[in-house]
Subunit: 214 residues, 2 copies
DNA sequence: CGAATAGTGTCTCTCAGACACTATTAT
DNA sequence: ATAATAGTGTCTGAGAGACACTATTCG
């Protein structure tokens, strides 16, 4: 297979090939704030987790591999964001970086530095830009429907849902508008929340989880 | 630079590297229809124009280079769509393809086969999917504002603008609604169209062209 | 009871869409 | 005048947002 020749009689491997990396904005909501996981490099700078693509590996697999070390994360569906290809973006050589984002529960992130996205500036390479893209995409996704990445558990109240959406986007509408825009996209479980002050809230369930590729 | 070693003491070139290609959906409006440029391969199949990335070349430059042959096209701002990375997508070997789209005037496309996007199915590789993505993105862009890619000349009437938008998306609203949604995003030139039947139409101008990266 | 939270009735404003009317040209 | 196209007044309905009211629990 590797000595297959193309239309101009060249082997594929005769073409110059860039190194290909993946860099991933790992987003989570912690303490009511939208946060991103950062790694400390030498020199006090921070960067996103990433790795070089291995042989015969898909981009999504490389993302998952690069994150397995940092935290025991499973079942991730990375979202592809953009390819960064500036020739001088990495002084080690010619490297294409395929930016991704993943969304995880805060509890999954152990032993990683987590910082609110607004404070995550001055990162290495073009990682500031990746965070911007990842956050914008996430806000679009959450504007479109209730917790599309399943950060909440199986059942949740509208209050819990709204607090999550507010952490992700402060411009989330207020209680009544939020409720009316979400109920139609949720399923009622019939159960009520217990052990709380005030009128017990109904528990809802997502109708379906979003799938990965877009 | 190429013998710079990374944190684990490896040269960048010690990592396996995929071949990287670009494939581009060249979209145009011809005869009131949204069309895409196709290339005939051997075996009666069709594909999108593409090429392998050359050494020290950006993706956008590779796209422009791959299209310069097919048609004298200049000043293009390719839009990056998605990286296709299935391991078996190219039987010549391990190839990542970065899908792009560009929008050109029909007159620019000489000596290329142009086909309405709805008929452009059964293409080689994952090119059907690329066309789908490119068309969806283009429709989103045109829904957001008047002729964002400048397919019309410098000045145009609202009728001309609407016919263009209708070619791109048949669900374009009708005359009055279309006008009201667009005028606020246009500048009046003060001039009128001449040599036509009926009340002469005002000529408008785009306020600004969109820029490329997203 | 009061405090606290859940849930809803309803008003307003905006905007898209539809329809019909007026305006201005050529023939 | 008639045909043809441009442009606008206005009604309707849907939906977002704001406000205030009712509902149900705990202590």
């Amino acid at each position: 297979m590797t000595d297959y020749k193309d239309s101009s009689g060249k082997r594929l491997t005769d073409y110059p090939r860039p190194s290909v990396a993946v860099d991933t904005a790992v987003l989570t909501v912690s303490d009511g704030q939208l946060c991103v996981a950062l790694i400390e490099t030498g020199g006090g700078r921070h960067r996103l987790p990433g790795t070089f693509l291995h042989e015969a590996e898909t981009l999504a697999d490389a993302v998952r591999r690069s994150l397995k070390d940092k935290a025991g994360i499973r079942g991730l569906a990375p979202t592809q964001l953009h390819v960064f290809d500036a020739l001088d973006r990495d002084d080690r050589g010619w490297v294409l970086s395929v930016a991704h984002s993943v969304v995880v529960r805060a509890a999954s992130l152990v032993g990683v530095s987590v910082r609110p996205v607004d404070d995550a500036t001055g990162l290495a390479y073009d990682h500031d830009e990746i965070v911007r893209l990842a956050v914008a995409r996430l806000r679009d996704d959450y504007r479109a429907g209730p917790d599309p990445f399943g950060l909440l558990g199986e059942h949740f109240t509208l209050n819990e849902l709204q607090r999550l959406h507010e952490a992700i986007d402060s411009k989330t509408p207020r209680r009544d508008t939020f409720r009316r825009s979400m109920v139609s996209k949720l399923e009622e479980t019939g159960a009520l929340q217990i052990g709380t002050v005030g009128k017990p809230a109904r528990l809802f369930r997502r109708i379906a989880l979003r799938d990965s590729l877009r």
